[in-house]
């Protein structure tokens, strides 16, 4: 069904595009919010991505690549937003996290949800993007790499570094539990 809608949108059918917008925006907004950690900027990024998708929809060669392309547009819009935010931002506060006891089950160490949020927020945006594509949008790392236009090895590396940083921030020992487990293809 989606392929048919994409085909209609590509032929200039705005109604079909509208249906695609309705189905796509919620998860794009989720991804953008997780990447940018700011819902207003995330909305701007998603809108920018969707407008660009409509304008350039005829560049889509493979109709089944619609979702992946939207992810790319959204991530790129997030990158631009993050870049401009950095230009605007003044100081990013660094907060010493209370260290929790080290256990193999780290779920117990994040009773405070805010802890994870803050830890993610301090990751470089390119690492957050890989993590969001992989963990939130359920993309295998090979597809995440395609979306980001980077080699798979680079994607794996970013994911690994991001997870290690998180582990430290959350009170675990680097390398003590797991390296990132790639999701099933």
């Amino acid at each position: 069904m989606q392929v048919g809608l994409v085909e209609r949108a590509r032929s200039g059918d705005h109604e079909a595009f509208s249906v695609l917008v309705r189905t796509s925006v919620p998860r794009l907004l989720g991804a953008a919010t997780l990447i940018l950690r700011d819902q207003d900027r995330a909305q701007d990024a998603v809108q920018e991505a969707m407008v660009q998708a409509w304008r350039n929809v005829r560049a889509l060669r493979d109709l089944e690549a619609w979702d992946a392309w939207l992810y790319r547009l959204t991530v790129n819009a997030c990158y631009r937003s993050a870049k401009s935010a950095r230009r605007r931002s003044v100081v990013e506060l660094h907060v010493d996290l209370d260290r929790e006891p080290v256990t193999d089950d780290i779920s117990g160490s994040i009773a405070d949800r805010d802890l994870m949020g803050r830890a993610l927020g301090r990751l470089p945006v390119d690492q957050r993007a890989v993590m969001v594509l992989h963990f939130y949008l359920d993309l295998p790392l090979t597809e995440a790499a395609d979306v980001l236009g980077i080699p798979v090895g680079t994607a794996k590396s970013r994911l690994h570094r991001g997870l290690e940083t998180l582990r430290v921030a959350l009170g675990g020992q680097a390398g003590a539990v797991l390296v990132a487990q790639e999701r099933p293809e």
Partner: protein, 773 residues
């Protein structure tokens, strides 16, 4: 089970929880609206513009860099070719850039051209009701379809599924919207123009300038244009509603302007066309076109096309040079203004035809015969012509190339304006308050033969009707005193012998002594007690008064959707009625009469009922005014102009179309009809009010477009045709527009609304009674 979790699962779970859960509807609306005004880039440009996205062995999006040189070369060649064909393309009408349908007849050129309509068999995509008649156009912007309705609402529906997105309320009735750049503009019953945001219905501004009873609006290049009954064209700034300019161009009403390329073209009620500068309103030229009454002009390239109005019995289709109004060609047929694709125009006709006309030569390519005279402006795509015909309230789709029928679709009421095509759907609204979005199943369907149904109402009836016996009675007196703006409509005689003429255009009554001496004027405009709004939704001045034997009066306050009761001293006693479709409510009243026993009777054309009330307003009965049996006889139903009670106690309804009087008994059953085609006393205009004398003779009025037939037809007690009187003219005994007739033992009273621009006066005349045999 509480198992230890690995970090990646924890992160995944946290992300799932942390992502926003609330609805993204507002963002979705913003995106849809933002993109609705844009078109996707052409493929070559998009391929260049969009960075390539690849899997390991395939290019999914965009163009790899290695092809850029080739593409650039092709671009250069394409640009050269584009220059060559540019001039040709400039002459062709183009659909609106975004597949929107801004308003009446599409965009500001009124060419009626759409991107994509329904393809295949018709399928109701959705159907929605607004609860009040819709008499104007539909506007489509992005994912919102907006309609104005007689209850004063502008309602926005989702184009995709018909979900009501919002409604905006103002003084009833709400006119048809026109839209651009994410904003709808509509005029309310007070003549105030409202700007309403498409995505959420938020009011952006209301004009301080009032344009009463304006034409359909048209929007182009930052300005909104309206014609008005005072003969002016007005332009407002879309950004804030301020008046950009106002240009008086005629002594008669101006019809909907058309705009293209910095030029506004507007035509008055008699076909005098004026070309104005769109920015300044400066007049460039004015010329009579010979099309009287005219429809809406259409501009394509350097040619203006003007067809006849929907109410025409004479006229032609003309093609004029836009530069100076010089005629290029004309066709002596009653053709409406064409919807245009390429060099072919598709014109409905008062004779029931829908014709394809080669606009370069004026020759007909095909000619379909639809089963009724009344049509609305078609919408045309590259493959299909979508039209509406009043017979069975039917939408018809014809193959554009051949005129062969593709399908028909019947609606639940009459379409009073036009069809709109956009987003793969056809949008049609009815006076039953329903909005249809008709999609297609994309099936390949066979093209049928060109429809050849005979027209149901031939406009040549005037010429074929046999002459009638002239019963011209002697004139007793003529009265045209009273206020300066004296245009009498409904008449009533009070028990004290005074004659009350409803001046419906100014919401007052002019009262005359029995000898025709002007006594006084009573009433003011407004919504309060003792104030009136005598105009019904379409602007017709249908307010009126009926008297009970005790001298109390019942004013049908039609625009306020109520009945007001006054004692014989004109002290307000009570009122009843609100706008609505339930018993005791009014939607579109056509007349009021008080029976001998004091029962008040009102006909409502939209509720399609005759309702009776006790003097205190309690509903006694509600019966169908237009029973199925009547439909079977007439084929179409556009309501009644008046109601009266005959000597036998039956109700007599003066129908708008076909031109008939229907006698209906107290059970709502059709007894018989009068004045039909082929009868000696055939009506040649809409049936007007009627009355009886003591001998049981029925006096039936008909309007000014009756040709050489009399203003008042007289029937014997058995329904036989006795003759008529009142020829069209400006003489003392002539009657131009008999808006009402009452008869008693002292004589025959006829109110004549006149036709001022033809020199026919507005007056009340009293004639002596006809001889008893």
């Amino acid at each position: 089970m509480n198992r230890p979790m690995s970090l990646d699962l924890v992160v995944a779970q946290w992300m799932a929880d942390a992502a926003p859960q609330e609805s993204a509807d507002q963002l979705v609306d913003q995106i849809i609206t933002a993109t609705a005004g844009q078109r996707p880039r052409s493929r070559w440009l998009a391929l260049l513009q969009e960075p390539p996205m690849q899997t390991q062995n395939r290019v999914l999006v965009g163009s790899p860099n290695g092809r850029l040189v080739i593409v650039a070369t092709l671009l250069l060649l394409a640009a050269l070719a584009a220059v060559g064909i540019g001039a040709f393309l400039l002459q062709q009408p183009k659909p609106t850039a975004s597949d929107d349908w801004p308003g009446f007849r599409g965009d500001a050129t009124h060419a009626g051209l759409a991107h994509v309509g329904p393809v295949g068999n018709p399928v109701v995509s959705w159907k929605a009701s607004v609860g009040a008649p819709i008499q104007h156009d539909i506007s489509i912007l992005g994912d919102v379809a907006a309609v104005g309705s007689d209850d004063g609402l502008l309602t926005g529906f989702s184009v995709a599924d018909g979900t009501k997105r919002w409604s905006f309320a103002a003084t009833p009735p709400m006119g048809g919207p026109v839209g651009t750049d994410g904003t709808f503009y509509a005029v309310d019953g007070d003549g105030v123009v409202h700007a309403v945001r498409a995505i959420d219905g938020k009011a952006l501004w209301a004009s301080t300038v009032k344009i009463l009873q304006p034409s359909d609006g048209v929007v182009a290049d930052g300005l909104l244009y309206y014609g008005s009954p005072d003969g002016a064209v007005t332009a407002l700034n879309v950004k804030d509603g301020t008046q950009a300019w106002r240009q008086p161009v005629s002594q008669t009403a101006m019809r909907t302007p058309t705009v293209d390329g910095g030029t506004v073209v507007a035509v008055d009620d008699h076909g005098v066309m004026t070309s104005l500068d769109a920015r300044s309103g400066a007049i460039r030229w004015t010329k009579p076109t010979g099309v009287d009454p005219p429809g809406t002009p259409i501009i394509v390239g350097d040619t203006i096309y003007l067809g006849v109005g929907s109410d025409s019995t004479t006229g032609k289709l003309v093609a004029l040079k836009a530069s100076d109004g010089t005629e290029r060609w004309h066709i002596d047929r009653l053709l409406f203004g064409p919807s245009i694709f390429g060099s072919v125009g598709y014109s409905g006709s008062a004779d029931g035809s829908l014709a394809a006309i080669d606009l370069t030569s004026g020759t007909a390519l095909w000619d379909a015969k639809l089963p009724a005279a009344q049509q609305r402006a078609p919408a045309v795509t590259d493959r299909i012509v979508y039209a509406y015909t009043e017979a069975s309230h039917r939408v018809v789709a014809l193959d554009r190339a051949t005129g062969g029928q593709l399908w028909t679709f019947d609606l639940d009421g009459s379409n009073q304006c036009c069809v709109a095509a956009a987003k793969g759907k056809l949008f049609v609204a009815t006076d039953a308050g329903t909005v249809y979005a008709i999609g297609g199943d994309n099936a390949t369907i066979a093209v049928g033969p060109i429809p050849q149904a005979p027209p149901s109402a031939a406009p040549t009836a005037v010429a074929t009707a046999a002459p009638l016996t002239d019963l011209q009675p002697k004139l007793d007196w003529i009265a045209d005193h009273g206020p300066k703006d004296f245009i009498p409509w409904s008449l009533a005689k009070a028990p004290d012998g005074s004659i009350w003429a409803a001046l419906g255009l100014v919401d007052r009554f002019a009262i005359f002594e029995p000898d025709g001496t002007y006594r006084e004027t009573w009433g003011t405009s407004g919504k309060g007690k003792g104030q009136f709004n005598m105009r019904r939704a379409n602007g017709d001045p249908y307010g009126m008064v009926a008297f009970a034997k005790d001298g109390s009066s019942y004013v049908l306050d039609s625009g306020n959707h109520r009945v007001q009761v006054f004692d014989k001293e004109r002290t307000f006693i009570r009122q009843w009625g609100t706008f609505g479709m339930r018993p005791g409510q009014f939607s579109e009243t056509g007349g009021i009469v008080v029976d001998d026993d004091g029962t008040v009777v009102v006909i409502d054309n939209v509720r399609q009922v005759i309702e009776t009330y006790k003097p205190d307003g309690t509903v006694i009965s509600t019966i169908p005014a237009f029973p199925d049996e009547l439909h079977a006889v007439t084929g179409v139903n556009r309501g009644a102009n008046s109601i009266n009670i005959g000597p036998n106690g039956d109700y007599f309804l003066s129908l708008v179309e076909p031109h008939l009087v229907a006698e209906v008994d107290r059970e709502g059953k059709l007894v018989r009809t009068y004045g039909g085609q082929g009868e000696p006393c055939a009506l040649t205009e809409q049936a007007g009010p009627l009355a009886w004398d003591a001998a049981g003779r029925m006096y039936l009025a008909q309007g000014p477009e009756r040709g050489d037939r009399p203003a008042v037809l007289v029937f014997g007690p058995d329904g036989s045709c006795l003759g008529g009187f009142g020829k069209l003219g400006g003489g003392d005994t002539d009657i131009a527009f008999p808006a009402s007739v009452i008869v008693d033992g002292t004589g025959i009273y006829v109110s004549d609304a006149g036709v001022p621009d033809r020199g026919y006066r507005s007056a009340i005349r009293k004639f002596e009674p006809l001889a008893s045999n």
